[in-house]
């Protein structure tokens, strides 16, 4: 009975039926029933690193802010400097509490001079929408609309992404630089095509109307078939983002951690007069944080996982936030908050792997950086 109730409450993306029909393994995630894997996490991960993979990320939320004071509102409620954004440009940023901790990490898109779209995590969508509405109200004349239901979001990631999508659209995708976007049609579907992603590879995130999602999904897979482009689930998305050291809300960052601690000072608009959380961040930057997010590589056999204690000489000094055995690098890697004195690459620590102290060494982030072509 309770199973039925829980299943009934899960939200379904416009591609849900396609995932089920294609034999994907479905799991509950952040209130949605999502595909966790198609052909297997390892195979999908390697496909994205060497060819390309297609992901349904329609569970992400989209919140739009428009009006005379939209710039002022976005500058107030996001920590990065949205004033630098040109039309057609996107920016990694965050919504912070007054204490400087994360409400969510987001992408801010400038759709027009006074029109922005903020893409938020599924788990935080409702909370972020309420929070943005409240903050915007306080800053002047700007309307906030949760437009999540108007978009399906399909990501195609990997070295073959450009060549796969280009034949399906009239938009010149090679001219779209990373963290910029353009409008066009993809397989006759009206689309916002963004050169962004969450895998550490080149690729695109394509926003389309929900009723066109299946058509776009199918045409991407068809267009990429010969090149070995495959559908992927959230499992591979997680291992890919971890190799690239991209932070995951709920694991590596949350409402107890700040951008300064998380190694994300680069997304803080330090030159802005103010924004929510600014005071605390400036103070923390001046005094130095008490802990920082560091990369770990296991030396002993064993895999560090979320929540495992990090030890130095037997004493607990930190906590693992994300960890896995990576399919591409074929190493056990992790991220953990550590005191700055222990966060220098080369420092030896132990991870308490279910009661056994397993040696690890601090390594620089990211673990994986894609080879860049000129």
């Amino acid at each position: 009975m309770s199973d039925t109730a829980a299943t009934a409450a899960l939200k379904l993306t416009p591609l849900h039926a396609r995932h089920v029909a294609s034999g994907a393994r479905m799991v509950p995630y952040a209130g949605w029933e999502m595909p966790v894997e198609y052909s297997g996490i390892t195979a999908e991960h390697l496909a994205v690193r060497t060819r390309a993979g297609v992901f349904d990320v329609s569970h992400m939320g989209e919140i739009e802010i428009a009006g005379k004071d939209a710039v002022k509102a976005v500058q107030h409620l996001t920590c990065n400097d949205a004033g630098k954004l040109k039309m057609g440009q996107a920016q990694y940023s965050a919504l912070l509490t007054p204490e400087g901790t994360f409400v969510d990490d987001v992408l801010v898109y400038r759709l027009g001079p006074n029109h922005f779209m903020i893409v938020v995590n599924a788990a935080n969508a409702a909370r972020a929408a309420d929070w943005i509405t409240a903050q915007a109200k306080a800053t002047g004349d700007a309307a906030v609309v949760d437009s999540s239901a108007r978009y399906a979001l399909i990501a195609i990631q990997g070295p073959a992404a450009l060549d796969t999508v280009q034949p399906l659209t009239g938009a010149d995708l090679a001219s779209v630089r990373p963290y910029w976007f353009t409008y066009g049609e993809v397989s006759q579907a009206r689309a916002l095509i963004s050169r962004t992603g969450y895998t550490g590879e080149d690729g695109f995130e394509i926003f389309v109307p929900p009723n066109m999602a299946d058509r776009v999904w199918q045409s991407l897979l068809q267009a990429g078939h010969a090149a070995g482009v495959v559908p992927c689930g959230l499992g591979a998305r997680d291992t890919l983002r971890l190799e690239a050291a991209m932070r995951l809300y709920g694991n590596d960052i949350d409402d107890t951690t700040t951008p300064v601690e998380a190694g994300l000072s680069g997304i803080v608009g330090w030159n802005k007069p103010t924004f929510v959380g600014a005071e605390r961040l400036r103070a923390q930057k001046a005094s130095g944080p008490e802990r920082v997010l560091a990369g770990l590589e296991m030396l002993d056999r064993g895999i560090a996982r979320h929540g495992y204690p990090v030890l130095k000489d037997g004493a607990r000094v930190g906590t693992v936030t994300s960890g896995t055995q990576t399919p591409f690098l074929k190493k056990a890697i992790a991220m953990a908050y550590l005191p700055p004195s222990l966060a220098t690459p080369g420092t030896r620590v132990d991870v308490d792997v279910r009661g056994r102290a397993s040696a690890a060494t601090v390594v620089p982030l990211p673990f994986y950086k894609r080879p860049r072509t000129v």
Partner: protein, 123 residues
Amino acid sequence: MAYPNDRKYTKDHEWVRLSGDTAEVGITDYAQQQLGDVVFVDLQAVGTAVTAGTPFGTIESVKAVSELFAPLSGEIVAVNDRLAQAPEDVNTRPHETWMVKIHVAGGAADGLLDSAQYEALLT
């Protein structure tokens, strides 16, 4: 995949193949499907005494850690060392890949299933 009838199964999705008083233990095809890609199998050492229903090791997929429960009591007399290098054997050949051999001391754990009963459990 068919579940061979030369062995017994547990509700924890392990298989046990007895020959004399030695039992080979592995996990079922269903179990490997649920786990996904196996990347690490950590087994207790030869000589360790195990008790039915208690862990004799852990198995990790890319996503998660699961415990392996001994289907019967006895002493581990062999571990499959190949799994250290090739944990993916558990995915590709689950019913041919034993993890440990247990010299059986007491009786079998309660509730071991034959292949028909195990298949019924999965439906």
